[in-house]
Amino acid sequence: MAQDADADLMLAFQRGDVSAFRALYERHARAMVAFCHRFVRDPARAEELAQDVFVKLHGFRDRYERSARFRTFLYRIASNHCLNELRRGEHAARALDCEPPRDLDALPGGGPTPEEVARGAALERAVARLLGALPEKQRAALVLCRFEGLSYEEIAGVLETSVSAVKSLVHRATVAAAAALAPQAAPSKEALP
């Protein structure tokens, strides 16, 4: 297996090095909050869920084995936790909320025009509706692939399924995204030189 610095940290934590656990959450907190936010569309709840993930990771200290990449292991905990959260249904309505973008200055391009702000908000709403409508495995596969940048092999490890199943999940979710985001994609395409 390739060098996995995170797995080394987890093993150090297993031996009692508390600073190794701190290093792990410092390295992955941003990714976990972002990942959870894709599921619940609520920054405060996303942070809570990300904290839950690290509390679970802390609890896995004695049972962790270096049998898979640490990132796969962490995303598996996070995926299961977020999917359970969705099954509880508390965030189904929020997923379709028409909330404006949280940080308008953070829109691509910097110093966005009102038109770009409106387009970013419309895109966020469309993506929220898309994610809310996808079956849960497709949703997880799409988020892991498009937003987290995991390979098909890594996603297969996270979702505990085959690479060919992931290929199908990602394809179907991307086809659904093409249908759902076509109105958002068209104007931005026209704007290109």
Binding site: V33, F54, P108, T174
Partner: protein, 158 residues
């Protein structure tokens, strides 16, 4: 080659084996429909990539996480003990409830049997009287026993 639609997303993601990739690209060179579908998928991937960035962790993320872990670590023994105790109490309560239900059922059955005997005591007496005279084996005999009270002494009551 049929339309390799299932492979188009994997092609965009660079997830096809070299041979399969060559075959799909060969098909795309001569298929307008698949090229159009590939473009639509590419646009969707670009639109998703253009989303505003997700929120950052709050400045207190680490402090809150460590406080929570410390809080949970401080009480696992007592919590586990309470958890076990709660289960044991629940099991004991269930056992008691089952035992009580069985006892009530048995007492009730016994009482019903006693009440039935009491209600038919006269009949039993009559039966014994008739049985002392002779055999009571036919349905007619039983009918006579059941209506013995209605018979007058003249009609044959011993």
């Amino acid at each position: 080659m049929s339309h390799p639609r299932e492979d188009l997303t994997a092609l965009l993601d660079g997830a096809l084996a070299p041979e399969r990739r060559a075959a799909v690209e060969g098909h795309l060179a001569s298929c307008d429909a698949c090229r159009a579908e590939l473009e639509a998928l590419r646009d969707a991937v670009a639109a998703l990539a253009a989303l505003p960035p997700p929120p950052e962790p709050s400045p207190f993320f680490g402090a809150r996480l460590e406080a929570r872990i410390a809080r949970e670590a401080a009480s696992p023994a007592s919590l586990a003990w309470l958890h076990r105790l709660r289960w044991r109490l629940a099991l004991a309560a269930t056992g008691l409830a089952v035992a009580a239900a069985m006892a009530i059922f048995t007492v009730r059955q016994h009482r019903v049997a006693e009440e039935q005997i009491a209600a038919n005591l006269d009949l039993l007496d009559d039966y014994e009287v008739v049985a002392s005279v002779g055999d009571v084996s036919s349905a007619e005999d039983a009918e006579v026993v059941a209506s013995l009270d209605e018979l007058s002494p003249k009609e044959g009551r011993p």
